[in-house]
């Protein structure tokens, strides 16, 4: 057991008591009380992850996404859904963000599956003008009624969670509490500090810049792996992941890497299982990714034998991503 895992377990012991039960609702917005999620014993449990092929950002994405969601058995009827894309910053030369076609397809699919409400929320970590990034990434022009459904999570009213790693209190935007289901619409990318950024790391965008700044440096001081795990502990139980691996990013991700076509979307309700599957597709050993090691068997399943793969096999879509020197040791044997 490495130090990061020990550190997390120590924190989790205290935090499990606080957890959701420690959530203190807002004065006017946000729920007043949230019950603690049922802690399922994970030892021996199985998880399902769907890998669906999508060769390009065409109109066929919606069909592929629908197929994957239904195969995972997700029921969104009557639920308030928050889609959380990975919208960071923009560079014409690469592919930093969840592609607009995936976001538009998700909006359409979750509406057609009977969700009561579908909104899109993001709090970018580098750029303050979220709407400018949304313009550059064509979200504002290609997502129907974008301005009506979009929430800038950096600048919302907030509520507090008791216990986040070693912090007594941590604040989040009210819309993330108000949602019944958060869909992590992540991008399949390498990450120069975390190894890979997938559905779990994508939740850094739930942290409000209005309190923690740009970048969200508090998470770096807590520790990136610990923060990723804490975000998954709090929001994972009401999450579904859809990772855009149609074109991912290899090399010096998450901003300055190079596009890597893989032609898949990876989906599931168990975020660590989805991310571990993505790692295997990328040619990364999930056991060498610290936050997945910390989350394994506590927040989700990462062992390959205990993930029931639906759709494509890992081997049939595996596309080795180029890794920077700091993560060459994480190459899947």
């Amino acid at each position: 057991m490495n130090s990061g895992r020990r550190e997390f377990l120590a924190v989790a012991g205290a935090a499990a008591v606080a957890g959701y039960a420690g959530f203190r609702g807002g004065r006017s917005a946000g729920p007043q009380e949230v019950k603690a999620p049922v802690q399922k014993p994970l030892a021996g449990a199985m998880s399902q992850v769907a890998v669906v092929k999508a060769a390009s950002y065409s109109h066929e994405i919606a069909d592929a996404m629908m197929r994957g969601i239904l195969e995972c058995g997700l029921d969104v009827t009557g639920k308030r859904v928050l889609l959380k894309p990975n919208l960071v910053e923009f560079d014409f030369n690469t592919c930093i963000n969840t592609d607009v076609a995936v976001v538009a397809a998700a909006l359409d699919v979750f509406q057609s599956l009977g969700a009561e409400e579908v909104r899109i929320g993001e709090g970018p970590g580098h750029r303050r003008d979220t709407y400018a990034i949304a313009e550059l990434t064509r979200y504002r022009t290609e997502v129907p009624k974008f301005d009506d459904v979009f929430i800038d999570l950096n600048r919302q009213d907030v509520s507090v969670v008791q216990g986040f790693a070693d912090r007594k209190e941590f604040y989040f935007a009210n819309p993330v509490f108000e949602a019944d289901l958060i869909v992590s619409l992540a991008k399949m990318k390498t990450h120069h500090w975390a190894g890979a950024t997938l559905s779990m790391k994508n939740y850094f965008g739930l942290v409000p810049g209005s309190i923690y700044g740009w970048p969200k440096n508090e998470l770096h001081h807590i520790g990136i792996p610990t923060s990723i795990v804490e975000l998954t502990r709090i929001f994972g139980p009401k999450s579904f992941a859809i990772v855009d691996g149609i074109v991912g990013m290899e090399g010096n991700g998450p901003i300055q890497g190079t596009p890597k076509p893989v032609g898949v979307m990876v989906m599931g309700s168990d975020l660590p299982a989805v991310d571990a599957t993505c790692c295997r597709i990328m040619g990364i050993d999930p056991a060498k990714i610290e936050y997945l090691q910390m989350a394994s068997d506590i927040l989700g399943v990462t062992e390959e034998a205990r993930i029931q793969q639906i759709g494509e096999t890992i081997q049939s879509v595996q596309t080795k991503f180029q890794l920077i020197d700091e993560f060459k040791h994480a190459r899947l044997a």
């Binding site: 807002g26 303050r128 440096n217 010096n252």
Partner: protein
């Protein structure tokens, strides 16, 4: 231009909350940042007095300001409150405590241990961590935007507040180091991002809004004409109402004309207030004064 200003000021008056503050968006709870910018835009009006009354109630015992009524975290917005207090000629204890808090706050990267680890090549730093600047919140590293506002507020305080010689020298020194830090985090492309030119030794790009903010923080400095050109070029390619507003303010603070904003007017209170500051005359409330 008068109509454009009036439309924005009218919108701000209409969006003011009953408690005297403004949220980031109409109908939302009051937050320090939009309230501070709106109060500066409406300076001299009863609306600004109500806003200051609310902000005054958010000052914490350590002299800092919290970012909203419900958030119990010391915040970089303390600099904005110092600027407002000075604009209102309120030189009492709240102002002095706010200045003292800013003087006592620095990014954690400047802790002596971190500096020695970097000097011994045990840890790597992508910027000069010996230069004390300001974080978004205590316990974090320093970044560009909080440093810009702290530099402006402390330069204003140095000009307006009676201080003994030692305190004045300390304040001037802290400002000098803060400004040096801003120069040191300039990107190789000539602009600024959120506050580091490199990550793991690799160059990072600059952004228009942070470049414009750096220009606000470096009032009175020479050699910045290329940076204005860079910010304008970035805005031309990547439209941003926020960057556009900050650049117009920066141009005015550097004695230049600012073209009227072409940005659409959105129900975004912070951007609307900054646009009103840029268009009207109240950008002068962000003047830092002579360099010492």
């Amino acid at each position: 231009m008068a109509n454009s200003l009036q439309a924005r000021l009218d919108a701000l008056r209409e969006w003011q909350n009953a408690d005297g503050g403004w949220g980031y968006f109409p109908g939302k709870e009051s937050w320090l940042e939009p309230t501070a910018y709106a109060a500066l835009a409406l300076h001299g009006e009863p609306a600004a007095d109500r806003a200051w009354k609310l902000l005054s109630s958010w000052q914490m015992p350590d002299g800092s300001w919290r970012p909203s009524e419900r958030v119990n975290v010391a915040n970089w917005g303390t600099s904005l409150c110092v600027t407002i207090a000075l604009a209102r000629n309120e030189f009492g204890a709240p102002l002095r405590q706010g200045v003292a808090w800013l003087m006592g706050t620095a990014g954690v990267e400047t802790h002596w241990l971190g500096i020695w680890l970097a000097r011994l090549h045990i840890s790597k730093a992508d910027r000069d961590i010996s230069l004390k600047a300001w974080p978004w919140k205590p316990g974090n590293s320093s970044w560009l935007e909080p440093t810009v506002h702290a530099v402006v507020a402390l330069r204003q305080a140095a000009r307006a507040v009676s201080l003994d010689t030692v305190a004045r020298r300390e304040l001037a020194e802290r400002v000098r180091i803060g400004e040096e830090q801003l120069w040191s985090v300039r990107g190789r492309d000539g602009g600024w991002n959120y506050g580091t030119p490199l990550a793991l030794g690799i160059e990072l790009p600059s952004y228009p809004e942070t470049t414009a903010l750096a220009l606000v923080g470096l009032q009175g400095h020479a050699g910045l004409a290329p940076a204005f050109g860079i910010a304008e070029g970035m805005i031309a390619k990547t439209p941003s109402a926020l960057a556009d507003a900050w650049l117009a303010i920066a141009r005015r603070l550097h004695g230049m004309n600012a073209p009227e904003t072409a940005a659409e007017q959105r129900p975004d209170i912070m951007v609307t207030a900054l646009q009103a500051l840029a268009i009207g005359g109240n950008w002068k409330l962000l003047q830092a004064g002579e360099r010492t």
